[in-house]
């Protein structure tokens, strides 16, 4: 993720340690993938209770953009910054493959680089990506148009409710998603569909700059 961000914006991101009590002043905070604390107990559970998450919660309230990818998404739900939970994949196994995503809401900095309903390619790699929320919460998420991405064309790899692959918080400044857009940002990856997400979030899109 660090390499991807450096490639996209030409600046190396600052790092925060899990015990830090403050965060550097920044435009975008990313909680990347990886098995934080081995994903012992529940995926993202221990990371969600790290000291640094208090600061994340604070700046989230102030409207700073926060992106959680994969384990980052799990951490954000465990921390209560996003609704629902990510359960064991319906197929029980870890799954690493490319899926299709359709853009469910592009009126947001993270997704503004995409067309509404555009279908993009994106890899997933996770064991617990099966999005669950109770019926009422799910309805709220849908009503508020909080769904950012849905698995498209029958590629739902994990049994997620309503094919949900990524959601915003109600304010729209926090995005959590299971797929890994950072692994599809340059021709060497075989595609660049993931790039626009970061460009949007970092205000690097041409339209925005103009």
């Amino acid at each position: 993720m660090i390499a991807a961000i450096s490639k996209i914006c030409g600046v190396t991101p600052l790092l925060a340690w899990h015990t830090d009590s403050t965060l550097p002043d920044s435009d975008l905070i990313i909680i990347p993938g990886g098995f934080s604390h081995g994903d012992y107990l529940r995926s993202g559970a221990i990371a969600a209770r790290a000291a640094v998450m208090d600061s994340v919660r604070e700046v989230a309230e102030k409207g700073v953009r926060i992106l959680g990818v994969c384990n980052g998404f799990q951490t954000l739900t465990e921390a209560g910054l996003l609704p629902g939970a990510l359960m064991r994949n319906a197929g029980i196994k870890f799954v690493c493959k490319e899926v299709k995503l359709s853009i469910a809401n592009n009126r947001n900095p993270f997704t503004q680089g995409y067309q509404l309903n555009e279908v993009i390619r994106c890899p997933v790699a996770h064991h617990d990506g099966n999005y669950f929320a109770d019926a009422k919460t799910l309805q709220q998420i849908e009503d508020n148009e909080q769904v950012a991405f849905r698995y498209a064309d029958g590629t739902n790899p994990n049994g997620s409710a309503n094919d949900i692959a990524g959601i915003f918080n109600t304010k729209g400044n926090v995005l959590g998603m299971m797929p890994h857009p950072e692994n599809l940002i340059e021709p060497a990856h075989g595609g660049i569909d993931g790039r626009r997400l970061f460009e949007g979030a970092l205000n690097l899109l041409k339209a925005e700059l103009a």
Partner: protein, 85 residues
């Protein structure tokens, strides 16, 4: 105030209505192994916790607190605490 050592068991189970892919998979596997008459399997977690507290009540309170804060994800899970010794 002197502390005593308590051995506690915490059971964390999925709330009703929350899907349980692992339980489902086990149901299927049991069926394929020839076990008949299995209506349902739900998988949960247990934690055997040894802790020091001033009283059984204090230990219970602390354990419930641990569940709320860490051991259970109360969006999807219920918990139950019991102290054996």
């Amino acid at each position: 105030m002197s502390n005593k050592t308590f051995n506690a068991q915490v059971r964390v189970t999925l709330k009703n209505g929350v899907l349980d892919p692992q339980g489902k998979a086990i149901e299927g596997a049991l069926g394929s192994l020839g076990f008949e008459g299995v209506n349902q399997v739900r998988q949960g977690k247990t934690f055997d916790v040894q802790l020091e507290a001033s009283s059984k009540k204090a230990a219970e309170d602390q354990l419930a607190n641990m569940c709320e804060k860490l051991l259970a994800n109360t969006v999807i899970e219920d918990y139950a605490v019991s102290i054996s010794t």
